[in-house]
């Protein structure tokens, strides 16, 4: 019988723009009209199509300038009564605004001026004169946040009610060169110095609470946002940063960069329609407009679509070669020759050595950001292998204090370790189907160059088909019925490593394409069809190289930050973790592959 799909083919969705991880990730900066007078460290307020740029450095003739943006061009408007720069505060709209604080012409100012759409009038001063402060709100309800009265910096916050300033609760962290966005009942303060920080605090109308910091610490940046649930932060110092981050009420995410990185710029608008203007980079007149699409198609892994704008078929995928390593949380104990299992955000490491002969029973649990000590193993050991998840796994065999090899297996149930059925053969340096379960797994190889494989069914170990090439300290990936053994050493741990790789189909091992660089004691992660083998030893030397397996062949990808031997890994080929290793370390590294939209070549 004919199948309709085979005759007519598949329908592919047509989209005018690429899919995106979020509305804000789909946004981009475009150039806007240039300021008439280039300057930095002025105050910005308004929206993307109706903004004011008030004052700015250098203090002097340009320090009193006031320009208005109409969405296309800037026009000079009435000057401030008191010229000022060094990041004064500003709040309001093009028809009703206030400017407050700053520096100029010869002192730090408390002075506040009110704008009615045509001229500035002096109104009541801040209680505490300051420069480099954050300002947000409206002409009748504004906040003045932090800043520098003269060293040291202040945490002071004041609230404006349309006629006077009242001191309210302080920031938790005093700072200057910060940015504030939102209203008097829902605001966000981010960044600042000293020291340069990504520290972020959320204001609920009464108090500031510290929340997740920006990914990139910086000061002298600018922001845009209507309240503390959705805010952009862009630009900043040190140097002239182009980074833009979006805060979604919980965390910051990097999105499209400014075209011109700069600091001491001004910003206004909302997180979906923002404006960046002025700043440190000559001629200091650049304006950029950020627009996030009102509607967007959310990225879905594996989605294929036709982009009618670029006339290309695209697929959303995680291309393993595009991944990178970043430092992860440090373990509590520096450890090498340890075993591990789990995933990048929920991993266990157990056993290992803190030095020659110092075999350990310690165990730690990772939650994606920090490690916590757990109940210890019953038997100290090194050179074990790990299988399972952070709530159900095994540490298998190894070498215990005194030098004896052991067959003992301990089971992790999420809260403690219990001894369970031994393997048939006591040895160390085995590989395992690390993604196996507590009822289905295999272990293979071992010291000095064993080929044996044992299969676990939840109650007993059974010897099954041997590896073609005996070895120890190899990479082990996959599950009981489809696993991979990569590299390793056939010289008892004192050799120079092997390149061979074997694939397990549930009953026998088959040689497949070799890794590029012989090694042993690396960190492995992934499955039989997509895996990662990282770092390790060539004998006397350490390797930082990482190789990725696509089911057919190995490709060198981004190197680890610090090369280690007798380290261990966990996770999948797109999200993995490398834990500890020798020389003994507390450090871990996290491998992440972002989603990307890639063009498909149709022949």
């Amino acid at each position: 019988m004919s199948v309709y799909k085979e005759i007519k083919g598949f329908k592919v969705q047509t989209l005018s723009t690429d899919t995106a991880a979020s509305q804000f990730a789909g946004g981009a900066w475009a150039s806007g009209g240039s300021l008439n007078t280039g300057r930095s460290a002025g105050g910005g307020t308004g929206i993307q199509t109706a903004a004011l740029y008030i004052g700015g450095d250098p203090v002097g003739p340009s320090g009193a300038l006031n320009e208005e943006y109409n969405g296309t061009a800037w026009t000079e408007k009435g000057d401030l009564n008191t010229g000022r720069g060094n990041n004064l505060g500003a709040a309001g709209t093009v028809t009703a605004a206030i400017g407050f604080g700053g520096y100029g012409p010869s002192s730090v100012l408390a002075n506040t001026e009110s704008w009615n759409g045509s001229s500035w009038t002096e109104v009541n001063d801040l209680n505490e004169a300051r420069q480099a402060l954050g300002g947000c709100g409206t002409s009748t309800a504004a906040l003045a946040v932090g800043g520098q009265p003269r060293p040291p910096v202040t945490a002071n916050t004041e609230s404006w009610n349309g006629s006077s300033w009242t001191e309210v609760n302080n920031l938790n962290t005093a700072r200057e060169e910060l940015d504030a966005q939102g209203t008097t009942t829902s605001a966000l303060a981010a960044g600042g110095t000293p020291p340069v920080t990504g520290n972020t605090e959320k204001w609920n109308g009464t108090t500031w609470t510290e929340v997740s910091p920006m990914n990139t610490a910086r000061s002298s940046g600018a922001g845009a946002g209507a309240d503390n649930t959705s805010v952009l932060f862009f630009g900043g110092s040190p140097s002239n940063k182009a980074n833009t981050e979006h805060y979604n009420g919980t965390v910051w995410t990097e999105i499209a960069d400014l075209a011109t990185g700069r600091s001491s710029l001004a910003g206004d608008g909302t997180s979906a329609a923002a404006l960046a203007f002025g700043g440190s980079v000559s001629p200091k007149a650049q304006t950029e407009e950020f627009t996030a699409p009102a509607t967007f198609t959310k990225q879905n892994l594996g989605q294929v679509y036709y982009n009618s704008g670029s006339n290309a078929f695209k697929v959303t995928q995680q291309a393993v070669p595009g991944g990178t390593w970043a430092s992860g949380g440090n373990m509590n104990t520096a450890m090498g020759d340890n075993a591990g299992f789990g995933i990048q955000t929920a991993a266990i490491t157990a056993g290992g050595t803190t030095g020659a002969g110092n075999y350990q029973n310690n165990s730690e649990l990772y939650n994606g950001s920090s490690w916590t000590a757990t109940p210890t193993l019953n038997t100290p050991r090194r050179a074990s292998t790990g299988i399972g998840t952070s709530t159900a796994g095994y540490i298998v065999a190894g070498q215990t204090s005194g030098g004896g090899v052991i067959a003992q297996v301990e089971q992790w149930n999420g809260s403690g370790w219990t001894e369970t059925t031994d393997t048939n053969t006591a040895t160390r340096g085995r590989g395992a189907s690390a993604s196996g379960t507590i009822t289905a797994a295999i272990v293979f190889g071992g010291h000095p160059s064993r080929a044996l494989t044992e299969s676990w069914n939840g109650s007993a170990w059974t010897e099954v088909g041997d590896l073609n090439e005996g070895r120890m300290l190899m990479g082990g990936m996959g599950v009981q019925t489809s696993a991979l053994a990569s590299g390793g050493d056939d010289g008892g741990g004192g050799g120079s490593g092997v390149v061979s790789v074997e694939s397990w189909n549930g009953s026998a091992w088959t040689e497949v394409n070799n890794i590029g660089t012989a090694r042993y004691g690396g960190a492995s992660a992934g499955s039989q069809s997509s895996a990662l083998y990282s770092s390790g030893s060539t004998g006397s030397g350490l390797l930082s190289q990482v190789e990725a397996w696509n089911g057919t062949s190995w490709t060198e990808v981004a190197e680890v930050g610090t090369a280690k031997r007798k380290t261990c890994g966990a996770g999948v080929a797109t999200l993995a973790i490398k834990m500890g290793g020798q020389p003994n370390t507390t450090s871990t590294e996290e491998w992440t592959v972002d989603q990307s939209n890639n063009t498909i070549t149709v022949s």
Partner: protein, 94 residues
């Protein structure tokens, strides 16, 4: 490629980020020595981690000293223990 050399203590999460790994070369070595790509981003990272700038010779001396200490530890092991691992080798920083 030109490099800068510094020492800095890895405090863990965010010590180096994925974005930073895309922006400049970074490799860690014994003795908390870091080889950093000599560009604007590398400079920013050194500043972020309060890295203590070293000359290449100074950095190499730290790394060599650490490896020599590891070699001494290896040499003190029994023959049986030595057979289970290779003797660390001194190498040159890039």
């Amino acid at each position: 490629m030109a490099y800068k050399y510094c020492t800095a203590t890895n405090w863990g999460k965010s010590f180096f980020t994925h974005e930073e790994r895309r922006q400049f070369h970074l490799s860690g070595h014994p003795g908390e020595v870091w080889v950093v790509g000599d560009n604007l981003y590398g400079d920013q990272w050194i500043s972020k981690v309060s890295g203590a700038i070293k000359s290449k010779a100074e950095a190499q001396a730290i790394v060599t000293g650490e490896i020599e200490a590891a070699q001494a530890a290896y040499d003190a092991l029994s023959a049986e223990q030595q057979a289970q691992q290779a003797r660390p080798a001194i190498y040159n920083l890039p």
